[in-house]
């Protein structure tokens, strides 16, 4: 049983994984793509960390009606890359994986900044790049940049 096969068995046995798809590294850039329920994300992250994976990136996609979180895990020891997709909006907020991968801290803050998606149990969920302004989530589809944003708003205190 190859490394990939054993990983597939582990991923399939996870109860939160709703769909597992083998992808081709040449065409898709990753070996496994899986859909997962939000509450299963920390468990998946912990399991992948035990397998020697690290968090490559964490981002979100806005499809208009729904939004999805996209996690990518990778490892150096064996060429292996797992992409996990979980629905994030308008469903319940996904739990943070800071406890498993500390690198997720700022990436979750960036997703919160750009998309307005919250993460449960995040130690310090505040904006990373933009100023504190109501409704300023510029990567959302329904965000319209108008003159109300381009004023000389300068924050008076460091956050």
């Amino acid at each position: 049983m190859s490394q990939n096969e054993s990983l597939a068995v582990i991923l399939e046995s996870s109860p939160q994984v709703t769909q597992l798809r083998r992808a081709s590294r040449e065409n898709d850039g990753f070996d496994f793509s899986l859909s997962i329920e939000p509450k299963g994300i920390p468990e998946l992250a912990r399991m992948l960390k035990d397998q020697g994976f690290f968090l490559e990136y964490l981002t979100a996609v806005d499809y208009g009606q729904t939004m999805e979180l996209v996690y990518s895990f990778s490892k150096w020891i064996e060429p292996d890359r797992v992409q996990a997709v979980c629905p994030a909006w308008p469903m319940e907020a996904a739990p943070s994986i800071c406890g498993v991968f500390p690198a997720a801290n700022w990436q979750e803050r960036e997703v919160f900044d750009m998309f307005g998606l919250e993460f449960k149990d995040h130690p310090d969920l505040k904006r990373l790049l933009l100023i504190q302004e109501e409704g300023l989530h510029p990567l959302r589809k329904d965000f319209v940049a108008g003159p109300q944003h381009s004023g000389d708003v300068v924050e008076t205190e460091m956050v």
């Binding site: 790049l129 933009l130 100023i131 302004e133 300023l136 510029p138 940049a145 108008g146 003159p147 944003h149 381009s150 000389d152 708003v153 300068v154 924050e155 008076t156 205190e157 460091m158 956050v159």
Partner: protein, 174 residues
């Protein structure tokens, strides 16, 4: 002589003030402080090929407490603006500000309606003395800007006796 004090200093030294200004003009200490790609040109201006040290302005200080000049080199995001103000407030007077590059002058390519992240120019919240245009300006342009600042301090090119090079003949008149 450009007066930089909000209130006049308690001790006035008469003609010695002009001497002090001459000293200040020829030992401007900028702050090590870059915001975007203009900072690369600022580093090049400080390095050996262009060598700001020829004009006494190459001593980049890592602390605002030791600096005279703030070179705002790059794009100012709204998140960064309060930090820049804090750094400016921490510099001891007399102090000067050079806005380097189009972003620091007017927002440059980021100035459009609906811009939500960038402040359109350093002069919206800082008293800017010299503007150095360019995107980014070449190191010669920054040097020219600092020489312009020295002229502002001493009251003109003719008064700046310590200048170690001949000016272009056309620029010699005040």
């Amino acid at each position: 002589m450009v007066e930089r004090f909000e209130t006049p200093p308690p001790v006035q030294l008469g003609i010695l003030n002009q001497m002090l200004d001459l000293c200040r003009a020829n030992s401007l200490w900028p702050m090590t402080f870059g915001l975007a790609c203009c900072a690369i040109e600022m580093m090049a201006a400080g390095a050996s090929r262009f060598d700001l040290d020829r004009f006494g302005a190459g001593v980049f200080r890592p602390s605002p407490r030791q600096s005279d000049v703030m070179i705002v080199a790059g794009t100012i995001s709204k998140k960064m603006a309060p930090i820049i103000v804090t750094l400016y407030d921490q510099m001891p007077a007399p102090k000067w500000v050079v806005a380097m590059g189009n972003c620091a002058i007017s927002g440059g390519p980021f100035a459009y309606e609906g811009q939500y992240a960038i402040v359109n120019g350093a002069d919206r919240f800082l008293p800017v003395d010299v503007y150095v245009p360019g995107c980014p300006p070449r190191p010669e342009a920054l040097i020219q800007g600092l020489l312009e600042l020295e002229d502002q301090l001493t009251g003109g090119a003719k008064r700046n006796y310590l200048r170690r090079f001949k000016r272009h003949p056309g620029n010699d008149q005040e």
